[in-house]
Each structure stands twice: as structure tokens, then as C-alpha cells.
Symmetry: C2
Subunit: 326 residues, 2 copies
């Protein structure tokens, strides 16, 4: 068990920090889709967040927590995608230099976007080098703060602001959700949301949703210990590839996450098309897993209200076209 | 000149009527897109409105204004698309029967959706019959209220609530827009938005954007009298096909709309792809004309702040895929 876990109050403080810069994303629904499902599906539109995913929230909160004296030494992060863009954009807004370690074979658009936000990008060979080692070494050499993708109280609290918004927005709609589903890679989002909801709607069940074969959180919650994914596990959900839950995130998840679900790539493609058709939003594969869990009945919705966090929209046009054709 | 034009106060009353049911759609931007453009582009996401377009606002406001005693006689409307769905959904929420007159060759999904909202659909032959005559006859026979698509003070005031939201949201962001652009078919949206802004940000210039060849509002504003489109004018913007401005909308536009712009179908496709890539939203062709006007430089944005109303997202997957491939 890690020394200290973030709390609901940490999420409240995070909300104050990010308020001036983050988008309060809408919680939307479709009357026709609800009729098809026989229940009420509310979708939290994090693809509309700055940088196209929820990752901006945690990154901004974490970097804003760096003491003034240390900010001049910059931040270091490793990521192949949404965390990279979140850190780069947040660092620029806070006037902090960012160095992002990305795999040489990351999509060129993600490398370009990260550079466009003003970050220095260091490329590494993901088959011959360890990004954790490179990150730790660069942070040491430069005196920079390492901004981890999920296993950090500041990151978790930042993502948790989504939970606060879900509570406020569903209250304003006069509804108490029965369940809240979020995508899960290392667990920063699902545990943050659970913490954010804890002080507001303590009876809501929170679930993680992962790709089949990369459902380490679901299996870890079931077994009560950290489980790892097979090294050869693959999915179109490029944002959900973490091999195992974090120590901090798993400690929170054991207390606050009710269980884990898993969906296939084919189900994810159909969910992306469903979200396009009924909700007019762009979901990347990892952003559509919650919708897929509801659409397939893996999360029952008949006569109930289920909130799904659609976590991001950074998807290549070719993959999106393929999903629409499925 | 029509007898009485709707006012800013009418828009305020409309906002009170629709508040319990309409979505306050977000006003979003992309830092990277802003850098590319050299200015600030704020996009009002009306594809996230109920029924997938702004039309719900006007329809709900208009139907809510029908005296209690007349509501039992229902409403009649004619439309091949977004107005049909807006009226059907609003009527159902208000417990009013709706009969929608749609062309036999309208896309089946739009007919299906309108029926799914509980409306009776009457099909007509758009080459042999007049929808206006059918609508007037049905309204007379049944004692129903005819809910026009744009040339009605209640409709215009309802669409104008978007202007109020733009004013409030841009103030909250600490910015005063230099210009606001909206799509234009019959003119209900652009004049409503101009009225909504009038009491809040009176110095903002409001512009209509239409497809090339269907730019009757632009030409009417330029000549000072009602101009008609050629009968054979075509565009992929199926929502923007009205042949000429309405009497009421044109009277307002002459006072409050600064001018009209026009964009080609090829520009609209590129704008749909741009909105997908940078903003993660689904724009139907008619919903992307404002983005197209900015992207092409037809509306200057360098060093300025321009708000674009992205008016709807009801687009077939095949057409959207085509736009992403362009």
C-alpha cells in the first residue's frame, strides 16, 4: 500500500487549479438512443477537452503543483499519445519547459502535435530502450520534475475533476446515475473519477472498461493482486495499453471501483459508429470502450441511468472511416 | 416590412422557456488550430443540441408559446431534415401531437428518426405537390398550429438563444468576438443570433454563410431586396436549400446582419475534416460552412476572434467518410 492516497479534497483543489483553463465538457444524451437501449445513457464528452482528451486535466493539475522554484527546471514525461499532448499543452500554459519521450514509431501526427505545443521531443527505440530509464535519467540530469502518466496523486486528482462535473451535471438534470464507466489503462482516470464522485454521490458504482486481453485492472480487481497483460496483447485502443495497474491507482481501485469490464475491437468500432450517429461526437477507440460496454449489454442499462466517460477523440481519419464502414 | 419583428427581449423569454430541456452547447477552440489560423476560432457546438441541430431550440420555443387550449389540436410542420426532428422532439416533450410533411425521397433515416420521436409523417411528391399548400390544408382541417421553419418570431427568438449563450460564454472566457458567423438557409438562425447578441455585445459583426449558388441572403443583403436562387442550384449542404430569405428574417437581417459569405462544396468537405481533426466534432455539410469561411480566409481571422456556429451534425456516414478522405 502506498504511503498516502489522494482524497476527495485533493480532487476539489485540482478543480480550483484547472478551472481557469480547462473546458467543462458537456454531459449529453440522445432520446432516440435511450429508447433503443431502454435506459438513459449520459456521455461525458472529454474529446472536447483541450488537446482532445481528459489527459490535460491531470497534467495541468500536476504541473501547477510544482513549487515555483522548481518550475524553471522543466518537466519530463513519457507517452506515445494523449498524455504527451496534455503535458505539452499544460506546461506551455504554465510557462514550464517540457521534454516528452516518445517512441520513434509513434504516429507522426502525435509527434508533430506534441512539438506544436512547444515541447522538446526525445525519440527512443521502444524495443531496445526503456522509456522509464530514459525519463528518470533526463529528469535527474536536468533537475526536472517527472510527470507520470497515472500513478501520481496529482494526476489522479486532476482526472477526478471529471467526477465532480458528472455529479454536478447529473444533479442539475435531476438524475442520480446508477453506474459510471470509464476507460482504463493505468487507472488514473477511473480512480480519479471514483474519488471525485465519492464525496458527492457515494452510492454510484464505478467500473473500469478495458480492451479484451488488456484487462489487467479487471483481473487485478477480481484476484485482489496486481495482474499483468500478456506481452503480445494487442488492441486498436492505442491509449489503453498499460501492462498493469499502478500501485497507487490499484490501492484506490480496490476501495472504490466496483469491477472491470472488457470489450473487443469489433465492439469498439461499432461503438465509435454509434457515438457518431446518435451523439455527433468523435471517439478514438479508447474513448469508445464505455459506450461499447453499454451497447453490448455487458453493463446493464434497462431501466437505469449509466454515465460513460468518452475519454478522447485523437483518432486518425483512416481508422475512423473504417469504423463508420463497419 | 412585417408588422412586428421579434426583439432581444423575445430571445430572453425564449431562453427561459427552453432552459429546462435544451442543452447549453459548449463553445470550444483548439490551440493548435488557432496557431495555424493566426487568430482565435471559437466554435459553438450545436451538433450536441438535442436532435443533433440547433432547430430544437426554435421548435421548442414556438410550440411552448401555443396557448394551452390550442395544444390539443397539435402542430403541423414541413421539412426534409433538421426542423422535422426538432419539431417532433419538442412536440413530444410538450405533449403535443405533431404531423410532419416530408418529401417521399427524403433520406430514410430522417423519416425514421422523425417517426421515432413520435410524429406522424405525411409523405408528398416534391415535384408534383406543394408542401406549403399541404401544410396549410392539414393545419386548417385539424385546427393545428403550423410551425414554420424560419419566418416566425417564435422560431427566430428560439434560435437566438445561441446568441445569448455565445455572449455569456465568450465573456466568461474574457474575450469579445470580432465577428460571429452562422449558416443560413431561410435566415432564422443568423437573425436570431444577431438579435440575441444585440443586447449583449452590440458591436459584434454577424455574418451569414451559405453555399455558393444558394447565397440568396448574401445577394439580398447586397441588393437590398429579396433575391432568389436559381431553381437548379445544388449543394451537399442539404440543410441550406431555402430559395429566398423570409420576409421577417430579411427585415431583421437588413438591420442586424453585416453581410453574407459563400463557400463551395469542396471547401465544406475540407472544413468537415478540419473540425474532425482539430475539434473532434461531427459537422454535417451545412454545419461546417462557417468553419469553411474562416479556413479559406473569406472571413479574416488573423489577430482577431471569430465565433462560428456549427449548426448541426446530422450527416450520413458515407458522406462523412468521403469528407475525411478528401
Amino acid at each position: 500500500m502506498p504511503d498516502s492516497l489522494p482524497t476527495h479534497d485533493d480532487v476539489r483543489h485540482a478543480a480550483e487549479r484547472i478551472r481557469p483553463v480547462a473546458t467543462v465538457t458537456p454531459l449529453i444524451e440522445s432520446a432516440l438512443l435511450n429508447e433503443e437501449l431502454g435506459g438513459r445513457l449520459l456521455v461525458k464528452c472529454e474529446m472536447l477537452q483541450k488537446t482532445g482528451s481528459f489527459k490535460f486535466r491531470g497534467a495541468y493539475n500536476r504541473i501547477a503543483m510544482i513549487p515555483e522554484a522548481s518550475r524553471k527546471d522543466g518537466v519530463v514525461a513519457f507517452s506515445s499519445g494523449n498524455h504527451a499532448q496534455g503535458v505539452a499543452a499544460a506546461a506551455r500554459l504554465l510557462g514550464v519547459d517540457a521534454c516528452i519521450i516518445m517512441p520513434k514509431d509513434a504516429p507522426q501526427t502525435k509527434i508533430d502535435n506534441t512539438r506544436a505545443y512547444g515541447a522538446e521531443v526525445v525519440l527512443y527505440d521502444r524495443f531496445g530502450e526503456s522509456r522509464e530509464e530514459i525519463g528518470a535519467r533526463l529528469a535527474r540530469e536536468r533537475g526536472s520534475t517527472l510527470v507520470k502518466p497515472y500513478d501520481d496523486p496529482g494526476i489522479i486528482a486532476g482526472q477526478g475533476t471529471i467526477g465532480l462535473e458528472i455529479a454536478a451535471q447529473s444533479k442539475a438534470m435531476g438524475v442520480t446515475p446508477d453506474a459510471v464507466l470509464t476507460a482504463c489503462s493505468g487507472g488514473g482516470l477511473v480512480t480519479g473519477v471514483a474519488l471525485g464522485l465519492a464525496g458527492e454521490m457515494p452510492k454510484v458504482d464505478v467500473y473500469s472498461v478495458e480492451p479484451v486481453g488488456l484487462d489487467d485492472m479487471a483481473r487485478s480487481l477480481a484476484s485482489g493482486k496486481l495482474e499483468r497483460n500478456a506481452a503480445d496483447a494487442r488492441s486498436i485502443c492505442d491509449a489503453l495499453m498499460a501492462p498493469t495497474p499502478g500501485d497507487i491507482t490499484f490501492a484506490i481501485a480496490r476501495q472504490r471501483v466496483r469491477g472491470g469490464l472488457a470489450v473487443s475491437d469489433a465492439e469498439v468500432r461499432k461503438a465509435m459508429a454509434l457515438a457518431f450517429r446518435h451523439l455527433k461526437i468523435v471517439c478514438e477507440p479508447g474513448g469508445a470502450v464505455g459506450v461499447a460496454a453499454v451497447m453490448t449489454g455487458k453493463m446493464p442499462i434497462k431501466g437505469r441511468t449509466v454515465v460513460v466517460v468518452a475519454s478522447g477523440g485523437n483518432v486518425d481519419p483512416a481508422l475512423f472511416r473504417e469504423a463508420l464502414a463497419a
